[in-house]
Structures are given as structure tokens and as C-alpha cells.
């Protein structure tokens, strides 16, 4: 049940990110839309790995080796989430760098100003 709630929030976040990216004209808001979408994806990833009333897969005094298999959450999506977060950050950094250069080029951040090459 919990993972369904988490999954829905993640997917809603993606939708909000998409909506923000499509409607706002300011490039920075578009970048924020993309990072929102990224965060939504990471939440979805974690939601997929959830096992009914499981805990973090770290073997310590709270979770002994023997009962780990039954009470631990799926570790793989969490590992993938770490990598995905780093990639999300990297892409946002590149986007912001380009936003700066675009502003320096045309003194405006509105996406409609950048339609030189077409057809």
C-alpha cells in the first residue's frame, strides 16, 4: 500500500515537472521543471524497490544477517537511484550553464527568443 502512495506522488511530481517545463517561458523555470521531473523519477525508482514492511538493507544490530532476506527492502533500485540522482544533477548543471550562456548571448531568458534556425 505504501509503495502505491509513493509511486503516485512520484508520478504526480513528473506530471507537474512536465507541465512546468511546457507552460513556463522562462528558461530557468524550464530547468526547474526538468529537475522536478528528475526528482519524481527518483521517487518512482525508490517506490518500485519497496517490499511490504521492509527496512533498509543494511546488516547491523537492527537487521541480522539471517532475517535480512525476509525484512530488507530491494537494494538494487536504491543503488540505481544513487546513480540516477548524480546524472540528474549533472544534466541540470549543464542546463544551467547553457542558460547562463543564452542569457549572455541575448540578454533574455524567454525560450521564444531562441528560434533562429528553423525549417
Amino acid at each position: 500500500m505504501i509503495s502505491s502512495i509513493v509511486l503516485t506522488t512520484g508520478l504526480l511530481l513528473i506530471l507537474i515537472g512536465l507541465w512546468g517545463m511546457l507552460t513556463h517561458r522562462n528558461i530557468l523555470r524550464i530547468v526547474i521543471g526538468f529537475s522536478l521531473m528528475g526528482t519524481g523519477t527518483h521517487i518512482v525508482i525508490v517506490a518500485i524497490g519497496y517490499v511490504a514492511n521492509g527496512t533498509a538493507p543494511i546488516i547491523d544490530h537492527a537487521l541480522s544477517l539471517s532475517e535480512a532476506a525476509s525484512r530488507a527492502v530491494d537494494p538494487i533500485p536504491s543503488a540505481l537511484a544513487v546513480t540516477a540522482i548524480v546524472i540528474g544533477m549533472a544534466v541540470t548543471a549543464v542546463m544551467l550553464a547553457y542558460a547562463i550562456r543564452l542569457y549572455e548571448a541575448k540578454r533574455t531568458l524567454s525560450i521564444d527568443a531562441f528560434t533562429e534556425s528553423k525549417w
Partner: protein, 233 residues
């Protein structure tokens, strides 16, 4: 108007697709076979308590190596895009951009207290990556937050790009070297059984995972601070 309408239609359609996902999603009652074997194998084979770091730094270490390459490229790429060598930051803050004021006294004292705390916390996360939650990436991010705080409070503070660049490269090269050592000495590329697995749960255990985690933490810390430093005006 049509534009707004088409956006709404697209979002609603995506909403429907996602709805079908939520409906189709059934919560896992028990672990899938692969995950279940990971939880059994990591403590046993690699001697790491934190299964996720075990996966990240050995079984899927090739991913992590790719990750590190991604960060490495972003550091270089952002530098390239933002115009490479920046004019050295001489002179006080005011003349560089109008309306700037020296950071308030509260922020300065806050930093003096917080930065040591942050760095200790970061070191803890990196070094205990294989025992408790955390690891190289997370520790590196905390280091970067400390550096960001420094950048905010002391405008003329400039992390020495020379030092960052060299440590970044050396850490990366060492990471790859450990991988090659794994190829030669142990089971395969990036295998951690070069060093003894040590006593389960002890500080020095789980083969090269702590070392890789440390290298990773330093490298990510340097790269993120290089990126942050590039973004300053």
C-alpha cells in the same frame, strides 16, 4: 490557445498512462530472486554491511565508474561552455557586480561553526560507507555543500583550481588502477577481494570498498566544488 489546449491534452494523456501504471502496480510481498541473492551475497562474498554500497562499488562498479566519468565530464564541460579561463577575481566584491554587499555578520559566524561540523559529518559518511548508510557520492555531496557555504560567505575565497584538478584526476586514476588491480589479483575488473575482507562490521573490512568509497568521496567533492566555483560570476 491551441498551444495551451494541446499541452493540457498531452499532460492528461500522460496522466492516464501513469494511472495505468499505478493500477497495475502490486506491492512486492517478498524480494525478487536477484535482489534476494544480492542481500545474501554482499555480506558473505564482499564482507560489506551496507548492501547498496556493496552493489555500487563492486557488482555494479562499472556503472559507478561510468558515473564518475559523467561527473568528470560535467566539470570539464561546464568549464568549456562557460568560457574556460575566468578573469582572476581581483578587487573587492562591489566593483565586480553592482548591489553586492559583504555577507552579514550572522552568516559569517554561522559558517565558522557549521563548516567544521559539515566536514566531520562528510568524513563520517564517506569512511563508513560500507557499514552504515552513505558512501562516496553522498559524502562528496556533503563536502560540496560545505564548500558552497564557504563560497557564499567569503567572496574572495577561491578553492585552488590547480589542487582540485589534480586531486580529481589522481582520484579517478587510482579508481581505475584499483579496478585493474582487481583484474590482476582477484576475480575480475573492479573486484574488491584484493584486500582481506576483514572482520564483518569492522572499520577496515570489505576489501577495497572503503578505499574506493574514499576515492569516490574525494573525487565527487572536488568535482562538485569545481562546478560550483565555475558558476560564480
Amino acid at each position: 490557445m491551441i498551444r495551451r489546449l494541446s499541452i493540457i491534452v498531452a499532460i492528461v494523456a500522460f496522466g492516464l498512462v501513469f494511472a495505468s501504471l499505478v493500477i497495475g502496480h502490486t506491492e512486492q510481498q517478498s524480494l525478487l530472486p536477484l535482489a534476494e541473492s544480492y542481500i545474501r551475497l554482499v555480506p558473505q562474498e564482499l564482507g560489506a554491511a551496507n548492501v547498496i554500497t556493496g552493489i555500487l562499488l563492486t557488482y555494479r562498479a562499472f556503472d559507478t565508474l561510468g558515473e564518475v566519468a559523467v561527473l568528470f565530464m560535467v566539470a570539464a564541460g561546464v568549464g568549456l561552455v562557460l568560457g574556460g579561463e575566468r578573469p582572476p577575481r581581483s578587487g573587492p566584491l562591489e566593483d565586480r557586480f553592482e548591489g553586492a554587499r559583504p555577507p552579514s555578520e550572522i552568516v559569517q559566524t554561522g559558517t565558522q561553526i557549521l563548516v567544521p561540523l559539515i566536514s566531520i559529518f562528510a568524513a563520517y559518511i564517506i569512511m563508513n560507507g560500507h557499514l552504515t548508510a552513505g558512501g562516496g557520492f553522498q559524502g562528496g555531496a556533503v563536502i560540496a555543500s560545505g564548500v558552497l557555504l564557504m563560497l557564499l560567505t567569503y567572496p574572495q575565497y577561491q578553492p585552488n583550481p590547480e589542487f582540485l584538478g589534480v586531486t580529481e584526476s589522481v582520484a579517478g586514476a587510482l579508481f581505475v588502477l584499483t579496478g585493474i588491480a582487481g583484474l590482476i589479483a582477484a576475480g575480475g575488473f573492479l573486484d574488491n577481494r584484493i584486500l582481506p575482507l576483514g572482520q564483518f562490521g569492522a572499520f577496515f573490512s570489505a576489501g577495497t570498498i572503503p578505499i574506493l568509497s574514499a576515492l569516490l568521496g574525494i573525487k565527487v567533492g572536488c568535482e562538485l566544488s569545481v562546478i560550483l566555483e565555475r558558476f560564480r560570476p
